[in-house]
Amino acid sequence: MNSLRSRIGRMGLNVFAGLGLVYLFMPIFFIVLFSFNKPKGNYNIVWQEFTLDNWLDPFSQSSLTAALWVSLRISALATVISTIFGSLIALALSRRSFKGSSVINLLLVLPLTTPEIVLGSSLATLFLSQTFVDFGFITVVIAHVMFQVSFVALTVRARIRGFDWTLEQAAADLGAKPWRTFRYVTFPLILPGVLAAALLAFALSIDDFIITFFNAGSTVTFPLQIYGAARVRIPPQINVLASMVLFFSIALLVIGAVRGQRSEAVKAMKRSKNK
């Protein structure tokens, strides 16, 4: 009796979790579905008929493609800068504690506990009150680096927490100069964490809307283009580009999972050989 009740409970929880996944995929399903739609008016929101036209010509909306290109350039540049700055901070923080580290930790967390609209509007007031740069490409890069640095620093720090710093001393004892030690010991060890942080920073940057909206001037990034377009017309090419990004990331995920399983299988084989 009791076991039946607990089994029903278990089932119920599993069903709920399944429904949760369905909920998560609902808009995704619609985005992909409507990329095959042939809309009648300006808005691609009512299903009309199936067509492959949008997929055969995904870059026909030149303004959309141009905006995507702007976004890619901004995010690439901002990610490179913020990954270098953030990783350096993480390296400094992960050694022994030093004077002022608690204030610096606080400074790193603050941008994460500040709503984006405050970050965006405050930075805009700074740019408004000076005459050195106009709103545009540069101000967007500056804004993105500003919020990415914290994410990178905290991610890299979390990834290299268990790092064995005596390896660096060993290299130094063996006569390696600081730069060689960094190049051949420290850098290879922290590289996976740095790359993970860079990916996260890039993802945050390319999809950022609110902060960019306040600091872009007349520069149009991909999210800004969608926002502007959504008020007059929503072309199905938006859905095609979104679906492409989606399928690309699913492919990355699958490749990662397969490689992970393969490397685990290799490890298991080695283990059984050693026995």
Binding site: L21, P27, L110, I226
Partner: protein, 347 residues
């Protein structure tokens, strides 16, 4: 002597340089004084450089962390701290005339009283909607995270990937997709019409006049959806860390599954819920995308007003006052929340 104190000097140089940049960025001084500040900045940075170059290995070792942090932290001083200062300054300034671009700092507190009197409703809605959305993300996210963490088996990573994949598409596109789904001709409304459930949903205040889109429920639903992974993933991380033997031990000691959950699993997952709440509530309270695409003019949140006043009306003082109030109240809430549910690891 100087070399042994190098860490103090490094920290002092970093602090002075940061203050100089805030002063320059936020415009503390006028004209020639700025040149002096710039000079101080360069002298300090150059001085540390000279010390590192000629101070010997010990000084270099002590200076290293400050040197490594300098680019990132000075960037944040100039583009995060200085903007906050200039935001507060503009929020207390007035324009000389309607078309002037010059703002004078006059302790103009009436910007704040205008922010509260004209946009009080937007403040209330922002906090109410994001509170409800945060609770909903716990209700939806916790069971999903629980099932993945404890029953996922070898599909754990795959299931986690499935949770994350929807969020690879653009935030705006996802929100616009929801407006398609919830639209009057959309699938959900027609399904509800077929089953005659519209009245039930109207009674529950989820629908208004047979509409699902452009209601408060749609805005809250959009917030819930868009910030769900920020709740789900931290909860998953904290559940994943729990040693299953603890649950086994509870069962061996004749605890019921409910009691084992209540006394063992849930307390250990609180850090995840705590982090998730901050990561969900803070961005949700400042959001204006969901309210714009899924709401109506009576469901606007404070983000909509700030955006409108700042970018459309160019009323920077009042917009800055609203931003400042939002920043201060969120910081106060976070501090209070940390005090009550205090965990050391905020990040």
């Amino acid at each position: 002597m100087l070399a042994r104190r190098a860490d103090n000097l490094g920290l002092a140089a970093l602090a002075v340089a940061a203050v100089c940049l805030v002063a320059l960025g936020a415009g503390w001084f006028d004209g020639p004084l700025n040149a002096l500040v710039l000079l101080v900045l360069l002298v300090v940075l150059g001085g540390v450089g000279v010390l590192a170059a000629f101070g010997g290995p010990e000084a270099r070792r002590l200076l290293a962390p400050y040197g490594l942090m300098k680019p990132g932290l000075l960037w944040m001083a100039l583009f995060f701290l200085a903007p906050v200062w200039s935001l507060v300054r503009i929020s207390l300034s007035t324009k000389e005339s309607r078309f002037s671009v010059q703002y004078n700092f006059t302790w103009a507190w009436d910007n704040y009283s205008r922010a509260f009197s004209d946009f009080g409703g937007q403040f209330q809605r922002a906090f109410l909607y994001s509170l409800i959305a945060t609770l909903l993300t716990i209700v939806i996210g916790y069971p999903v995270a629980y099932v993945i963490a404890f029953r996922g088996g070898r599909f754990k990573n795959l299931l986690l990937g499935l949770v994350v994949i929807p969020f690879f598409t653009s935030y705006l596109i996802r929100t616009i997709a929801w407006s398609t789904i919830l639209a009057d001709q959309g699938p959900i409304v027609s399904l509800l019409n077929t089953f005659g459930l519209v009245n039930v949903f109207e009674w529950l205040h989820i629908m208004e006049n047979g509409k699902l889109l452009n209601t408060p429920a749609a805005v809250i639903g959009g917030l819930t959806y868009n910030f769900l992974p920020f709740m789900l993933l931290p909860i998953y991380v904290s559940l994943e860390k729990i040693d299953p033997n603890l649950v086994n031990a509870a069962n061996d000691l004749y605890s019921t599954p409910t009691a084992a959950f209540r006394k063992v699993v849930f307390p250990l997952s609180i850090p995840g819920v705590f982090a998730g709440t901050l990561l969900t509530f803070i961005p949700a309270a400042g959001d204006f995308v969901n309210a714009q695409f899924l709401g109506n003019p009576n469901t606007t949140m404070i983000g909509n007003s700030i955006q409108d006043q700042f970018l459309k009306q160019n009323n920077y003082p009042v917009a800055s006052a609203m931003s400042t109030v939002l920043m201060v109240s969120i910081t106060a809430l976070v501090l209070l929340y940390t005090r009550f549910f205090g965990t050391e690891e905020l990040a």
